[in-house]
């Protein structure tokens, strides 16, 4: 199996923040807005270097979305940053009307997504955001796998004309993709080629999927791993091709079942090549306080559970 070397550990939100700093230096159209979460979103450096292009909105996310839409109309590229829950669920209607339906060039920077937010508990651990954003026509939804890829995805989002939802997380996680890389919106990245089972994962779950593939290899199972960094638009061809090759799929996501990538892929495969599937996700549960590692294990969102699901789905072929 392809070897991935961990070159360090960082939070994916820092990938966003560092990309934003870079964008601040090279693209004068980029502006950043936050609702009293500048340090959490790693916007400090951009704000310090570009005080005229940084807008502090206070704890008023709904207004922030509208202001961003107004800025975007004039040709600016606004990045609005807050916790995942507060830039999706809290402002769904504003995002729907001003960003998606208005098709304004607003980039939604969504941090602390999923259960790995950890200790803050369920009020902040959104496991529904992908469902909400996916439901909006014309919205691009991205959940990159590590610091480096999140950085590349942020740079790509700035180049793309139209609304983008960029999902990333709070805790430090392994960095295993290249330092220098280009991110192609809409491409599913095949991280490891295999023949017995396909594991499709997004965000933090990609590393877990690779660990699962390693364990499976030791057990004599060849697992293909696909990093679904762009959730929408979905790279249907890559998924269909892999499903046809392996004949069994596991989908792993740090999100609840409803409206997540599991259902998304099941829909595509049902139409194109019905394939046995197993799902690793937050099911239909609320989160709770704990360390990210504790929570991932408790909710079955780890390599061990992915490997188990892989064996189960292979047996169903």
């Amino acid at each position: 199996m392809k070897e991935y070397i961990v070159t360090g550990k960082k939070d994916t939100r820092s990938g966003f923040g560092d990309a934003l700093t870079e964008l601040g230096r090279k693209n004068p159209a980029v502006v950043a807005l936050t609702a009293d979460l500048m340090p959490s979103l790693k916007m400090d450096k951009f704000a310090a270097e570009n005080p005229d292009r940084f807008i502090e909105c206070g704890i008023a996310e709904a207004n922030m979305v509208g202001v961003a839409a107004g800025l975007a109309l004039t040709g600016k590229i606004p990045f609005i940053g807050s916790f995942a829950e507060f830039v999706t669920g809290r402002v769904y209607d504003q995002v729907r009307q001003e960003v998606a339906y208005g098709h304004t060039n607003v980039k939604i920077a969504s941090s602390h997504a999923g259960i790995t937010l950890g200790e803050d508990g369920a009020t902040h651990q959104t496991m529904e955001d992908v469902a909400l954003m996916r439901a909006l026509p014309g919205m691009v939804v991205i959940n990159a796998c590590d610091y480096n890829q999140t950085k590349a995805a942020t740079l790509a989002a700035a180049e793309y004309e139209g609304p983008v939802y960029l999902r990333f997380g709070r805790p430090s996680m392994p960095i295993f993709t290249p330092d220098e890389q280009t991110f192609e919106i809409g491409k599913a990245y095949v991280m490891n080629e295999g023949t017995d089972v396909t594991i499709v994962a997004s965000g933090h779950m990609v590393w877990e999927a690779l660990q699962a593939a390693k364990a499976l290899e030791e057990a004599g199972v060849s697992a293909e791993v696909i990093n679904l960094a762009t959730i929408k638009p979905l790279d249907e061809q890559a998924i269909i091709a892999s499903a046809k090759k392996t004949g069994a799929l596991v989908v792993a996501e740090e999100h609840n079942m409803a409206g997540g990538i599991g259902e998304l892929i099941a829909g595509v495969l049902a139409q194109n090549c019905p394939t046995p599937m197993e799902f690793i996700n937050g099911k239909d549960l609320w989160g709770q306080s704990g360390t990210p590692a504790e929570l991932l294990a408790a909710y079955g969102l780890d390599a061990a559970h992915i490997a188990e699901a892989a064996k189960k789905v292979i047996a169903r072929k």
């Binding site: 207004n63 922030m64 509208g66 107004g70 004039t74 504003q94």
Partner: protein, 280 residues
């Protein structure tokens, strides 16, 4: 730039358009359209620097207008058409399948003059604030205008935007409240408990101008003059208007907020409104 006598003529024709459009569509919102007619006609035919021929959605080099209360689309569409953004004949298509004149304003069907969709209430002031701050960033001295319904200002986001615009000293932002005192479920004071608008906006740091007769062009234009000379504050023009103004049986009641007249009622209404510029 049309002066008062001309504005009065335009307003009469716009009211005819509103009544005819809503009647033909068999649905829509005549009440608020009629109460805000003078405000809208003032903006599009006197106050705003805009050119339908060169309009672009980026609002570069021109004033911009955001309709926050999207349901009063009929008055908006009529003003846009009469100002030359699109043929007046297209007003006949309001709310019909395939039309550019959707039930609420949108940008996805290609109607010129519309900057942002609206319909879900309470959001336009934020968008206008975004446009206003962008114009300041770009060193443009143009203004951004936004019209809200009074009932709409029960929405919390309005007050988020109020705080934001004052905090950022957006003196190029001019908001108008169509203060007709009516909303779907009854009188605004009774439904949402919204009172003391002038005090509220003033306490949020806004320059507040109250116009006691929101159908008097002289007074409306004077209010806009005050707004445009604001040094460091956004301005709220509180226009005291009458719901359904200009059509006696629609006036002063919430019952015509979102109801279309019958053909007979339409004829009765049109008999009260002079055809000044030719019906579409």
């Amino acid at each position: 730039m049309a002066e008062v006598q001309e504005l009065i003529k335009i307003a009469s024709q716009v009211r005819r358009d509103i009544v005819r459009m809503v009647t033909a569509a068999k649905s829509g919102h005549p009440g608020g359209s009629l109460s805000s007619t003078e405000a809208m006609v003032s903006l599009f035919f006197n106050v705003m620097k805009h050119d339908p021929a060169t309009w672009t959605r980026d609002a570069k080099g021109a004033d911009a207008f955001i309709l926050s209360a999207g349901h009063i689309a009929p008055v908006y569409y009529s003003c846009l058409a009469r100002a030359g953004y699109f043929p007046v004949s297209e007003l006949a298509t309001l709310r019909k399948y395939g039309t550019r004149l959707q039930g609420h304003p949108c940008v996805s069907h290609g109607l010129p003059g519309i900057f942002q969709p609206s319909g879900s209430l309470g959001q336009g002031l934020s968008v206008a604030a975004g446009l206003a701050i962008a114009k300041k960033m770009d060193g443009e001295d143009n203004h951004v205008y936004v019209l809200c319904g009074d009932g709409e200002t029960e929405e919390g986001q309005i007050w988020e935007a109020a705080l934001f615009a004052a905090h950022h000293k957006l003196n190029n932002l001019v908001a108008i409240t169509d203060w007709n005192c009516q909303q779907i479920d009854g009188r605004v004071e009774e439904v949402g408990g919204l009172v003391d608008l002038a005090e509220k906006w003033s306490s949020f740091g806004w320059n507040v101008v109250t116009v006691e007769d929101g159908h008097d062009f002289e007074k409306i234009l004077a209010a806009f003059d005050i707004a445009k000379s604001s040094v460091d504050k956004p301005t709220m023009i509180l226009l005291q208007t009458e719901m359904g103004h200009g059509v006696d049986f629609m006036a002063g009641t919430h019952k015509w907020h979102g109801k279309a007249p019958s053909e007979e009622q339409c004829a009765e209404a049109l008999a009260q409104l002079e055809e000044t510029l030719g019906d579409y």
